[in-house]
């Protein structure tokens, strides 16, 4: 699939009703939140947000329940002096980074993460990263990306972080399969093993487990996106010569099979070999799904926008678990990266892009769905109204990719329904 294809008509795919576009209050995280999982994926990296006390408060509210002997993220909080004149902001940043690195000499990559305040006052963090990289050459690489709320929604922070790593990836036209997007370690191992069995010679991941071990990139690279929120990274990888493979995202048995088969096809693996390797996985995955399918089939699902995972998840839950889709909300719709999944959505699925949270909640209440996928700001209040919820952030923190995780993924949705049936508290 070429990402430079002409824009599609306003209906996202054949058989789907017109896209509902809304603007109003958006109940979503900003891209800074991506730090909460990226700091574990690359433990040798440090994420320094340049922003306000609000930014610091956000990250610690999300991650601060874990007790850190060695914090892996922090905030350079702008003060009134910094706002008054930009002249010394760079000196201030240099001083702070020096202090930080003295405390944490083991840091190999330092991300300067832009925020709303730093973007609004137009603090040039890219230049600062360049300058610091030169100063610290050979010890620490300093990079910059924006996780601001005005520019990014939740998982888009990862997109920007990977984009920042891109210039550091060595050039090589070596044949390889590059899996892009954070995967749980065990899932990553699993997926690599299966690709090995399929006979794909070299499989690498972005982001890597160590920030210094970046995969090479070039004309021999075929990119398979593991996550649907990597628009900018996917485009940039193509600019470095890589080919982007088109496939649904690896959620559920069907999506995972198609995803792996797409890579196999790109490497000329015979369909017979693909069936030989993947069919047992598919069969086993279906078995694992069965008990959850019994809970989920026929249940009506409403997905609120959060992470961009909504469309592939809706596809999986509808096609493999028999759920009915009331509305599938996404923060933004990248039709090209979503094309394969859109094509698999049941006809008549209502998609919405953007959000006016009050009006969307009116629709939720009117529809009385059996399950609502939503953020934690809405979950408990909806539960108190008698509406079952599945909180969405969990999906970016859980191993949910691949055939062998299909049962686990379905369970995440079945569990709140089982729990409601189980509790006898009235």
């Amino acid at each position: 699939m070429g990402v430079s294809a002409p824009p599609l008509p306003s209906s996202p795919a054949d058989g789907l009703p017109e896209l509902l576009r809304e603007s109003g209050q958006r109940e979503v995280f900003c891209g800074l939140t991506s730090i909460v999982w990226l700091h574990r994926r690359m433990p040798d990296a440090f994420f320094l947000v340049v922003g306000s006390r609000t930014c610091a408060h956000l990250i610690q509210s999300a991650a601060g329940v874990m007790i850190f002997a060695e914090p892996r993220f922090g905030t350079a909080i702008l003060g009134e002096k910094d706002l008054a004149g930009l002249a010394d902001a760079n000196e201030e940043l240099d001083r702070l980074v020096k202090d930080l690195l003295e405390r944490r000499p083991e840091i190999r990559t330092l991300f300067l993460v832009g925020s709303c305040p730093s973007e609004v006052i137009k603090l040039d963090l890219a230049k600062a990263a360049e300058r610091l990289s030169t100063q610290l050459h050979g010890r620490v690489r300093v990079l910059n990306y924006s996780g601001s709320g005005i520019e990014t929604t939740f998982t888009q922070g990862e997109d920007n972080a990977l984009l920042a790593l891109l210039p550091l990836m060595p050039a090589s036209d070596e044949e390889q399969l590059l899996i892009v997007g954070t995967l749980a370690d065990a899932v990553e191992d699993r997926v690599r093993l299966i690709f090995e069995r399929l006979g794909i010679p070299t499989v690498r991941s972005l982001p890597p487990r160590r920030s210094t071990e970046l995969p090479p990139i070039g004309r021999g690279t075929r990119v398979l996106l593991a996550q649907p929120f990597l628009s900018a990274t996917a485009r940039a990888l193509q600019h470095r010569g890589a080919t982007l493979l088109s496939a649904p995202y690896p959620f559920g048995v069907e999506g995972s099979r198609d995803w792996m088969a797409a890579a196999a096809a790109a490497f000329g693996v015979s369909p017979e070999r693909v069936s030989e390797v993947l069919d047992p996985l598919v069969e086993r995955g279906r078995l694992a799904l069965e008990s959850h399918r019994q809970v989920l089939a026929g249940k009506r699902l409403f997905l609120l926008p959060d992470s961009q995972l909504e469309i592939p998840l809706a596809r999986f839950l509808a096609r493999e678990c028999g759920m009915e889709l009331v509305e599938v909300g996404v923060p933004y719709l990248d039709r090209q990266l979503m094309a394969a999944d859109l094509a698999l959505l049941p006809a008549g699925t209502q998609l919405s892009e953007g959000q006016d949270v009050e009006r969307q909640l009116d629709r939720v209440r009117a529809a009385r769905p059996d399950l609502v996928l939503c953020g934690l700001g809405l979950a408990n209040p909806l539960e108190a109204e008698g509406i079952a919820t599945k909180w969405s952030i969990e999906l970016v923190f859980s191993p949910i990719h691949g055939c062998d995780q299909a049962g686990d993924l379905a369970e995440l949705f079945a569990r709140p329904l089982r729990r409601r049936a189980l509790l006898q508290l009235s």
């Binding site: 209050q25 991650a63 914090p71 609004v120 408990n380 952030i393």
Partner: protein
Amino acid sequence: MELTLWTYEGPPHVGAMRIATSMEGVHYVLHAPQGDTYADLLFTMIERRDRRPPVTYTTFQARDLGGDTADLVIRTLRDAVDRFRPEALLVGESCTAELIQDQPGALAAGMDLGVPMVNLELPAYSKKENWGAAETFYQLVRGLLKEQVPPPGSPKPSLDRWRVEGRRPRVNLLGPSLLGFRCRDDVREITRLLAEHGIDVAVVAPLGARPADLRRIPTADANVCLYPEVAGTVCGWLERSFGQPVVRTVPIGIGATAEFLRELHALLGLELPVELEAGADGTSEAERRSRLPWYSKSVDSTYLTGKRVFIFGDATHAVAAARVASRELGFEVVGLGSYSREQAREVRAAAKELGLEALISDDYLAVEKAMAEAAPELVLGTQMERHSAKRLGIPCAVISAPLHVQDVPARYSPQMGWEGANVLFDTWVHPLMMGLEEHLIGMFRHDFEFVDGHRSHLGDGAPSVSPTADAVHEGAASQGAAAVALVEAPAAVAGEPLWTADGEAELHKIPFFVRGKVRRNTEAFARERGLAEISAETLYDAKAHFSR
């Protein structure tokens, strides 16, 4: 610019949210970028509230900055008032909105919204959460009461007005709020305590109050300033404007509770009951309502004597803790500090009494450094001190906000009054026993049961996990961990299926607290099918088989 790994307080608009969300009938329109709605989670997750906070955000994005963000503010204000029909409206900005200067308060004032409106000016780059809460509470009370303020020179109400009016004395409890430390139960404890002494509570605010309740504040005979960080400003204003006296002793600990009651009796012109007079041993009858005095005197507590303790928190809780630690538990306070600059003087005075120099700082690293230098055996601090204490390997208990979800417990757990003192005793001594055990582990490292990382007395404790952090393993209790670790080693029994190297490797990728279960399930699965060995594939076959 200031490097912050952990921040003790949120931005001031979070303080304003605490006031709005603590109350009923108040709505807050907040000019803020997309993403700042994270603050809702503080209330829905940490406080576990069953309703959305009464906050409408403009959630502007980069593309709005090119257009008219002021217009966005106006639309948001109108929608919020139409939809929620509040009895009072707060209008303010978050840090980013402060930079673009749309003046939402001025815009709202020009809109004739038909509802009392408070324009909040909270400087996000110089002030913080508690200041924001105090300022918001003050502005709201002042806005609602300014018409009731008696003209200057009016006589102050007499202290025994209640007697003249032939009713019981009544007081307001000011300061309790959501995200404050244990406010829910402190209010209950103090209300009960006052009732025992024939004193009624007129208004509790902001927690649970409506704007109409705030208008009744002047009908009380005195104000009890339970949380000076939030209510100090408003209590001062009420004293100046309405002549309402303020009880400033915060009743945390045995001595402070008794002193609080004596102060209140004096203020209200009530006769001091005999049970509040100190007996021959210096303890009054009332104090025996708490178990802390006897528990602390009993021989089991002898080993607590002189335990070195480092105390840090908001000023109110830090000062109270220092008094309880030094006088009521027999600890040696080796460090005392607070992040509340507004109450620095009180903390300095309390530190001086203990022969210490107070640490007034909101720099987490400075606190950690002071802690390391003081080399305490126990840290009484905030959620943030738990990080430093972990790094330094020191037992720690939480005495003050900032807090996390485990410090909003379901059980009754006040800090104030007689029952509060019971809670303090248990909470502070609990990690110390763990400390003792850690010493034994340090001495004898070859033990088969008390191995590295083992905390036997915490075995039955609830795991301190938040829903966000514990995303993958809902409800997985840490208590299983130790047991699982012990059944880890595979038993080489004849006829039993053997784990292949890749099977074993796969198994070790399973999180440790469920690993034992996966191992057992997989072996049962293999046995059932008569398999001789267990590979990674078998593990996944079993996993799929048992999936339900």
